[in-house]
Amino acid sequence: MQHLWLIPTLPLAGFLVNGLAGRRASKTFVNAVAIGSVFLAFLWTVKTLFALAPLETPHIERYFTWIASGDLRIGFDFAVDRLSAVMLMVVTGVGLLIHIYAAGYMAHEGGYYRFFAFLNLFMFFMLVLVLAANYLLLFVGWEGVGLCSYLLIGFYFLRKSAADAGKKAFIVNRIGDFGFSLAVFLIFVAFGTLDFGQVFAKAASLPVEHTAGLLTAVCLLLMLGAAGKSAQVPLYVWLPDAMEGPTPVSALIHAATMVTAGVYMVARSATLFTRAPLALDVVALIGLFTAVLAASIGLVQNDIKKVFAYSTVSQLGYMFLGLGAGAFSAGIFHLVTHAFFKALLFLGAGSVIHALSGEQDLRQMGGLRSKIPVTFWTMLCAAVAIAGVPPFSGFYSKDEILLAAHHHAPWMYWVGVITAGMTAFYVFRAMFMAFFGSYRGRAHAHESPLVMTAPLMALAALSLAGGKIDVPRILEPVFPRGEAHHSPALVAISVGAGFAGIALAWLLYVVRPALAGALAERTGFLYRLLYGKYFLDEIYDALVVRPIERVSRVLLWRGMDVGLIDGAVNGAGNRAQGIGGVLRKLQSGYIRSYAVWVLAGAVLMLVTVALAGGGR
Amino acid sequence: MPESYVELYFPVFLQVLIAMAVAGGMIGGSYLLGRKVKNRIKDTPYECGITPTGSARGRFSVKFYLVAMLFILFDIEAVFLYPWAVVYRELKLFAFVEMFIFIVLILCGFFYIWKKGALDWSQQERPPEER
């Protein structure tokens, strides 16, 4: 026993303390509890992993039986293997840095204790998700992080857009969760268990031709769940809006950890996916398509957080491309490096926003290089990492993925390379617009305090050197490495695309700033299409959201609620009369109409039964 | 043994028909044969020879209905005493105890309505704020 349960329980305790007593406590106390609990969880993770090393086989701790019926046993079991070990380190490590940063960033915000309580609750669920030893417990964490994400996106609840964004994230994730829960039930029907070890053993022992159809269905449903959580086409629309939440939330939940849960889940289910080649192809295609689509939208956005949000969607697409190409360890590798540099980009963006007292529009920035140098230099580290400049972290992981994609299907590699070029372009476009040229805004810029810049520097170091952590080698016991695909030519091409992107951004936004506007005008339709995000939000709204709301209203046949609301709109004079009229109708008419419904239902049932002839 | 529902319920159907025919025949017969007088005095409500005064649609105190309902309640409960008296010899002590419990329960209800003032005619309407 290594007491794995302590890892998630520590943040849970932090949540309970802050949630129940935080309102009356001082900020120092709230900080100490929130950061302290995550720090202890981090320490305990490190200690446990050292104790368990080398962890060639999964270490499983079974606490108690949760549900047992017949042969089925679902337990509160935690397991840690090398895959979850990597995830644990990322979640607790990056999570700790972001907690520290948030203490500075949120210092002047209302609802301070509430923010940290939710953040701790999020850590709890995320760690449960990572440690779960069966699909059901994973589902607990899965739903839990969704809840926290919902609460934290809507943190600035007074802004309508924030409330709407929370709602949107929630609705879209419901679709994904629906797929995921169906997948879990299907797994249960097929294998009679939900325990990872047993499911994979059974799937592996059955001949492929027997299970291919079933596993394809399971994997496609799992992928639907992953697409919801990890913002892939067609369910990616919530993530850019989720940027309404406070920036540390964007960094922790919507860049580094929660959104990668889908990637983790698919990698965890690798045994199933490798036996369902069709599903694996779908994963790769969705990943690739998402990567291109999101990157192209990111090219023209003016909100600094939106740029990075689309970048996140695009990079998640990369990860799925890696998974779909069968290079699971490459996908996880990119997950790790992405956690470093994307968290850094968001935290840096937060630092910029903080410095400009809330300004997020890139057009209102410029020339900040000298005003907030620490932020600039750390963000530059992240930018070169994400652009794939060797020898920084993004270069290694992106390379693994692209090489695997080339091995899988060469055309995917080429699309990936184009995306890499776009990635480098939009990141450096944002960098140049914010830090170069002359300052276009009005607010007085000031560098962030040490409590915020220290995490930036730590993440900058990780972004630069993180590529040296050879995640694929660490993951070898989980995902045996196939033959290595080394091709200096292909590597050179993708690196070249990155440099081309950077150079283009330099040309358009530093050397000849007027050119960018002219280009936008020349390509009017394309520009508007990209700027309008392909108008998918509007399409979804018209096709899905509105019809459901309409049905809900129609179902309230008698329209009591609607009637009163309409009355209120029509002015006070009509209103009194209106309500009186409604009430009078209620007294005499409605009971009768209810009774008619009962009677109609009874007659309907009778007719049905009579026609069916008693079910003969 | 009759085979189908049609056969089984035919007598019932027949009886319904006859009942309707008889009722319809009586009303129709009196309508056809009877002498029709129609004037104001004939149309006035019959009240034991006393000339009616005022409208019949007066408002009654709600207590009137309350007492009427309570009367029906206790009246119905008294009905149970008849079958009890019939089987008393067979059931002996059990019947006695059973009916005793029954009466006690009724008494509970009786005390309750009594104490709540439901039987109190003379009690003034309480102003609403006292409730």
Binding site: L20, F170, D561, G615 | -
Partner: protein, 489 residues
């Protein structure tokens, strides 16, 4: 003791006697022994005593049955039966009635309608539920149903000066009477078909008949209509939103768990007993009612602003899930329904308890906006509400998940994949409107800073419901075993 009233009869009847006795006693003590308003807490104490005695009687039955290793104990020539099923439900009724009574005291004070009758009505309604859970005879069951329903009609209209409450009571009474008519008609046909009012004998007689017999179908449909009305399944649900909204919140709580659980017990007794052989005929009806309930309940709840109304629609959808367990019809399904009802009892009581606790002078607390900023005002209650709403939505590791899990499992085992998928889809819909409440609690600022005033009783009730909801979710084993015993056949 005589042949008409044996020791066994008495043994089986003890809990009901206790409930009725204390019910009547409270009625009399209200003006006789404790006439002062301040002495009403003694009436509450008497209610607790009555529950304790009833519980003791129940516990004796429980240990006797377990000790003898018998499946059931019949009394009054088979009119009453004590088995795992009745015990399971009766324990639940005791828990529900006690929790409701605990949360009522302060609420009624605030409403200004604190009368001793309330406590006696709780007990007498529970007495009716006792007969619904243990009755094995049409007349016993019907009398039990009416005893329960009459108490609820009064309780729904308990706020005499509130128009909504009066209106709700009137609607509930008229429609309840209407549906009882259907039920009585169905029962009379069942009696006509079999020549007996005993469920077991009716079952034998029906099994011998042609399943397409029109009179049998008529009997089945009318009975089904009456039963579905009681559990507020679509299309017989129209009374529920009005009754739930208008009734005093504590009564709504009792109505939503007590009345519903007892009606479900009643429904299971009828469908798995005398009507079991006509399954082919009633199953499509229940499938229709279940899917319609899920659809209407979940979709209509989305656009509600009043929490009580929202919960009424949610309770309609939960009735749909319970029916699905019966549709699956296998062992898991029936066990699932029992677990579901148990879980629903604790969870729903928890939600209503928070609304009740919110009520104070000048704040009704039944609008979603009234919950705004609850986390600031009293984080403990916000947490309770969160847990209960997660449970209603069926998210693990709360109890609601266990209930839904067994229903889904049974549907899958029965090969009804489409129904399982539809049910899963509606879970996704349901989470949406539950989370509207969550967001209001956690994300909004309090519109008024007034702190919540709670009493010891409310706090105890809160702890009970919270522990029940989380406890069953995390350690479901003992409850599952208990529900497994409650299997009818």
């Amino acid at each position: 003791m005589s042949q008409y009233y044996t020791a066994t009869d008495h043994f089986v009847l003890v809990p009901a006697i206790m409930l009725a006795l204390f019910g009547c006693a409270i009625l009399l003590f209200d003006f006789w022994v404790f006439p002062e308003p301040k002495q009403r807490k003694w009436l509450l104490a008497f209610l607790a005593l009555g529950e304790a005695f009833a519980g003791y009687g129940l516990w004796q039955q429980h240990t006797y049955i377990a000790g003898q290793g018998i499946a059931e104990l019949t009394a009054f020539q088979g009119s009453l039966v004590v088995d795992g099923f009745s015990l399971f439900f009766n324990w639940m009724f005791i828990a529900a009635a006690s929790i409701v009574a605990l949360m009522s005291y302060r609420y009624l004070e605030v409403e200004g309608e604190h009368h001793g009758e309330y406590y006696s009505l709780i007990l007498l309604a529970q007495c009716g539920m006792y007969f619904l859970a243990s009755g094995a005879d049409l007349i016993t069951l019907f009398v039990g149903l009416e005893l329960m329903a009459l108490c609820f009609y009064i309780m729904v209209g308990f706020l005499r000066s509130d128009k909504r409450s009066n209106e709700a009571a009137m609607k509930y009474l008229l429609l309840g009477g209407f549906s009882s008519g259907f039920l009585a008609y169905g029962f009379s046909l069942l009696y006509g078909l079999s020549g007996s009012t005993k469920l077991s004998e009716i079952g034998v007689a029906i099994a011998r008949r042609d399943p397409a017999d029109p009179v049998l179908l008529l009997a089945m449909v009318t009975t089904t209509v009456g039963l579905l009305f009681k559990i507020s399944a679509v299309p017989f649900h129209m009374w529920a939103p009005d009754a739930y909204e208008g009734a005093p919140t504590t009564v709504t709580a009792y109505l939503s768990v007590g009345s519903k659980a007892a009606s479900i017990a009643f429904l299971l007794r009828i469908f798995l007993g005398p009507l079991a052989s006509a399954r082919a005929a009633w199953e499509p009806l229940l499938v229709f009612a279940a899917i319609a309930s899920l659809t209407v309940g979940n979709l209509a709840a989305i656009s509600q602003h009043n929490i009580k109304r929202l919960l009424a629609y949610s309770s309609i959808s939960h009735a749909g899930y319970m029916l699905l367990g019966l549709v699956a019809g296998n062992e898991t399904g029936i066990k699932g329904v029992a677990v579901y009802v148990l879980v629903y009892t604790f969870t729903n009581l928890g939600v209503f308890l928070v609304i009740v606790a919110l009520r104070r002078e000048g704040l009704v607390g039944d609008n979603i906006d009234d919950l705004a900023g609850l986390m600031h005002k009293s984080p403990g209650y916000a947490l309770l509400m969160l847990i209960c709403l997660l449970s209603l939505a069926g998210i693990p590791p709360t109890a609601g998940f266990i209930g839904k899990y067994y229903i889904f499992l049974s549907l899958i085992q029965a090969g009804r994949y489409v129904l399982a998928a539809a049910a899963a889809l509606y879970v996704a819909v349901a989470i949406y409107y539950y989370f509207r409440i969550v967001r209001s609690m956690f994300m909004s600022d309090a519109e008024d800073a007034g702190a919540m005033e709670t009493t010891f009783g409310v706090r105890v009730a809160a702890a009970l419901t919270g522990l029940g909801t989380l406890g069953i979710g995390i350690f479901p084993e003992p409850f599952l075993r208990f529900a497994g015993q409650s299997l009818i056949r």
